[in-house]
Structures are given as structure tokens and as C-alpha cells.
Assembly symmetry: C2
């Protein structure tokens, strides 16, 4: 099979830049590569593997002769271009929420449900960041039967983009200097605060972010209605790296020691769990690296066969860019483009 002709859509955004970097790190082999953005960022330069590329404006015709598009440009852009890409015989690996819950779109975490990739019809979706890190942790424990899952997230601002990162910085400086600051990205001040809202609210009182954890987890792990899932998603003043307090009830007996041993050997997971020596993961450990870190593995005190754990990962990498490029790599290996 010939090497793929690749495009990165949304190349100038936070996640797009990570995709570009990781495409190099994972040694993706391609025939050609191009970088696409909105009209506003088109014309800017990207240095990649010793060559300089000019970012092109995304229009239907730029997808002629492209095999794989790695996209991180928001749901409306994906909705606009996905049909154009598919029509031209290309495959889009999409970071947005646009197609995740559609029946004929595989929603994939590489290393968790790779076989679902075979069912693609031109669109493969990348799960939401807060779901993604959890999947690598839950998949190896799934065999004990997940009855209930309760997740409380502590999410970094980087998931909301470059403007949000700058807003946390600027708001923090203003706060320390007792100056007024008007928040734009966030609905409430983000510096030294916790905001119990990520994305907009649904009719059931949950945010879209929370319902993504509920629905995407079910789809990726092929869980039926017997598994009950609830989530609270909160934004914390952290630049990068999501943390999650996870409480799981299993159908079968499982001890913290069993869970720890399984996770120590799990794909994409690194266990840091010697609390007596202050060894547990924090976002500072996770930012900029690939593993999903797990610690504080202990018996949950409210469930009979329960495990509680603390899970931390770089939301821009495993939650978005890393998984996108890992999927791209799998697609190439499995010859699915």
C-alpha cells in the first residue's frame, strides 16, 4: 500500500500544534503532508521536520488527493468539511464532538477499541478529553463488570484553547495585583476559583461535557444500559492536565491490589501509587508526556466491590492530539485508508 497523503486541519490551534509535533514523534510515514487552517491563519508558516510549510486555507478543493485528515478545528468546521473529504475518498480523524455519537462513526481510543476502526465509513471520531484518559484506565478493569461509575473532574483550561490559557495567566496576574479583570472565555473568574461548568447545559441539568463522559464511555467500552454512569465536570485554575476522582462499582470481587497489578501492565497507563511516600500523580507530572497516570488506588467505601482512584493526564495529548495521531498510525498499520 502506498504511503498516505496527510493533512492537518486546524494546524495553528493548540491541539493542531500538538498533532503536528506528535506526528513527528510517532514517526508517521507519509507521501505528503499539508497544514490547513481558517482564512485568518492561512499564510502563516509551520516548520516541520526541517522543512517550512505555508498554512493553506481550508476549502473543499484542498482535500483533493488527501488520504487522511487529522482535524481539530471545532464541530462546525468538521461538519462542513467531513462530507467533502469523504466524497473525495479521504478519511477524517476528527477531534470535534460533531460525529462522535453517530451510529456509523467509530469512536476510538487507540489501544482500547481499535477493532471498531474497521467499521469506519470515512469518519473516525476522537473522544472528548475527559473521557479519553478514563478509557485507558477502565478498559483493563472492565472484565470485572462495571456496574456504576461516578466521575468528578478537575479540568485544566488548555482544553478551551489558547485564549483560555492566556486568560488564566492574565486573570491571575490581575488578581495578585488587585486589579479588575473581565473574563471572556469563562463565564466566571478562573483565577483562584473553581467553575462547575464546562460546555453548555443540557435539559437534564448536566453539561454537555458531563454527558460526553456518560455517553462516550458507554460507546467506547461497549457497555449496555446495566452500567450506570454519572459525572460532575469542573474547571480548575490549572494550565494543562486533567485530574479525575473516579469511583467504580464492579459486579465481581476486585481488590485494590488486583486493580493496581492490572493497571501496572496496562497499555498507555503509568501507576504512581505509594501515598505513604507522597507518591501519587498530579497534573504537573502529566503535562507534556504520554501516559495516563493513576494513583490513590483504594477500596471505595460506599460500594461492595468498589475501587476509587485518581487519574491524571495531559488533556491536549491523550485527550486529543496523541490519540488522533495514534489512530492515524493504527489506520495506516491496519491499511484502513
Amino acid at each position: 500500500m502506498r504511503k498516505p497523503r496527510i493533512a492537518i486541519l486546524g494546524a495553528t490551534g493548540v491541539v493542531g500544534r500538538e498533532i503536528t509535533k506528535i506526528t513527528n514523534e510517532l514517526g508517521i510515514d507519509y507521501e505528503s503532508i499539508k497544514f490547513l487552517s481558517s482564512a485568518r491563519s492561512a499564510g502563516s508558516k509551520i516548520a516541520f521536520k526541517g522543512k517550512e510549510y505555508t498554512v493553506e486555507e481550508a476549502k473543499p478543493e484542498v482535500f483533493d488527493n488527501i488520504d487522511i485528515v487529522m482535524a481539530s478545528a471545532g464541530a462546525s468546521t468538521s461538519k462542513l468539511f467531513a462530507p467533502e473529504i469523504v466524497k473525495r475518498g479521504g478519511l477524517i480523524i476528527d477531534n470535534s464532538s460533531a460525529f462522535r455519537m453517530e451510529n456509523d462513526v467509530p469512536l476510538v481510543i487507540a489501544g482500547v477499541n481499535d477493532e471498531d476502526l474497521r467499521k469506519h465509513k470515512g469518519i473516525i471520531a476522537n473522544p472528548n478529553c475527559s473521557t479519553s484518559q478514563l478509557m485507558l484506565v477502565l478498559e483493563p478493569l472492565k472484565k470485572f463488570g462495571i456496574k456504576r461509575l461516578i466521575v468528578s473532574t478537575y479540568q485544566a483550561v488548555s482544553g478551551a484553547g489558547l485564549a483560555a490559557i492566556n486568560e488564566l495567566k492574565d486573570d491571575t496576574v490581575a488578581n495578585l495585583e488587585n486589579k479588575f479583570f473581565e473574563n471572556k472565555c469563562f463565564k466566571k473568574p478562573i483565577s483562584f476559583n473553581v467553575i462547575p461548568q464546562i460546555d453548555v447545559f443540557c435539559d437534564n441539568g448536566y453539561t454537555k461535557e458531563e454527558m460526553k463522559v456518560v455517553n462516550e464511555t458507554r460507546k467506547i467500552l461497549h457497555l449496555d444500559e446495566n452500567t450506570l454512569i454519572s459525572c460532575t465536570a469542573a474547571r480548575v485554575p490549572v494550565f494543562n492536565g486533567h485530574s479525575e476522582a473516579v469511583d467504580i462499582e464492579f459486579a465481581e470481587k476486585i481488590t485494590p491490589e488486583m486493580a493496581r497489578d492490572i493497571l501496572k501492565n496496562a497499555y498507555g497507563v503509568k501507576v504512581i501509587d505509594n501515598p505513604e511516600n507522597y507518591e501519587y500523580p498530579t497534573t504537573r507530572d502529566a503535562s507534556g508526556v504520554d501516559p495516563v497516570f493513576v494513583g490513590r488506588i483504594r477500596k471505595n467505601l460506599a460500594f461492595e466491590n468498589g475501587i476509587s482512584l485518581w487519574c491524571v493526564a495531559d488533556n491536549l495529548r491523550i485527550g486529543a492530539a496523541l490519540n488522533t495521531v495514534r489512530i492515524c498510525k493504527r489506520v495506516i498499520e491496519m491499511e484502513l485508508y
Copy 2:
């Protein structure tokens, strides 16, 4: 009954200062008042109700002729002086963890279990901050039968004292300037980070802070072993105000509307819950004021009769100083000194 002779022990600390302020705000009527500290801070001046007081060093004999001591000076100081206070016929309202779980020591949240005050034998304990705010929310819902309670906390640094507040500030500035900072109060960097440890670890893998939520909740609400409680306590880079994601399973049917109506009329609670208008509590709303704020009241998706909610309060006030002074006020009204 004559007015009480009052002492504030630990008067120069973060919580002691709040106790002093709130003693004035709640109009506590006294015959005399004095301010006590360790030898290090003794001699400093405190302005109170237009008078200047000199802080005295705490020694057994300063508790002669004192009726009520409001203490926030740490567990070892409380253990040292409580017997001396009781021996002299005084009553100590103690903020530390020293006596909370002792059988003959009432553990009280004013407005929740005031009747327990009648059982005191010279020592009344004030619950831990993360438990305190939760009690005012759970007490009015208790009649539906609490089967399971899962709490994830987002705790401010102020609970760890003045040095911790300064450390968050200094670490934040250093981080923004890309300078090295050595943390002392916290075991990990606190700026732009989340630390899943508060207090030391117990043998079961939980921190003392987490087990306080489990055990103190049971004692205050008089819950038996049929109520299962689990907790994850994490420190977030917030100066003041604890947030909690709370998931509750009830024995009886309860809807979010029912819970919202009950909490709207509950003592010490303020409901802010119009998420469609971005109305929900954040720590910025809670800092410096009395109520426990509740929002995001919704059906928990993992429990049949389940409610999830978001609860925010000023941990220095309701979690420590406010409840101490409220207990003092009840003790005076109930003539229990």
C-alpha cells in the same frame, strides 16, 4: 445567668482572627474577653470593639475564671489545655481534630445537631471544614434516608493556614516568572496544580481528611452502618472556599425539584441554581460570607433515587470560625456553660 467570661485560644492564627471578627458580628455578649496564643505571638496587640487587647501566652493558670474558650490552636495544644480548662470548670469549643471522635464529646454543627450540645462534659468539638459545609446541606435531606454518599472535594489552601496562603501566592508568582520555587507547606507544587492529598495517609489508603468526612458525617447526622460513605479530598490552587461534588443515593424517592425546594428553606444554606443563566456557586461567591451555597442540583444518573449537587462555602467561616462562634452563641442561649 451571668454573662460568660470568654477566651479565644490561637487568637493570632487565620481561624482565630475570624473567630474574633465573628464574635463581634454575632453580638456575643460577655463579661470579659481575652486573647491567647503561643509564647511566640504573645505580646502582640488585637483591636476589638474599640479596645486594644494584649495577646497573652496560653498557660494553665490563664484559664482560671474562664467560662468558655473558643480554641483554634491545633490538636496538640488542645490536648494540652483542654483538661486544664475542664478542671477549672470551663468549657472548650475546640476546632482541632483532638477530641472529635471521642464518645463523650459532642461534635456539633450549629443548626444541625444542637441538642447534642447538652451532653457535653466540658469539651465540644467543631467538625472539620470539609464535613461542616456538607452537614448543613445533608441534614434537611436526611429524612429521605441516605444510603450512599460519595464526595469529591476541591479544597482551598486557607485551611492549611497563613503560610499556605502565602505559599500559593509566592509559588504562583514564581511559576508565572518561570522561576524555581521550593514548596514547604505542600508536598507538591500548589500553583496551577491539583494535589490529591490533604493531611496524612491512614492504613486503608485514605487520608485523614477523607476519613474525617466519612466518620464525622456519621457522628453528626447520627447515621448508622447502613449508610455507606466514600470521599476523595484534593487541594486546588484557590485561596479560600471549599467546593464539593456530592453524589447521594437515598432510600426514598426524591426529585431535584424536591431537594431544591427543601434546601431553599434550609438553615444556613443559599441555593444558586439557574445553570441556564450561568447561575451556580463558585468559591468567589462564598469567600467572606456565611451561607453554604448549593447549585447544580440534579438527578444522579448512577443511583435510582439519586441527587448530585455542587456545594461551596467559606471554609474558614462555616468550616471553622463561624460554627465555633455559633456554637458559643447556642451554649450561652441554652445556658450550658
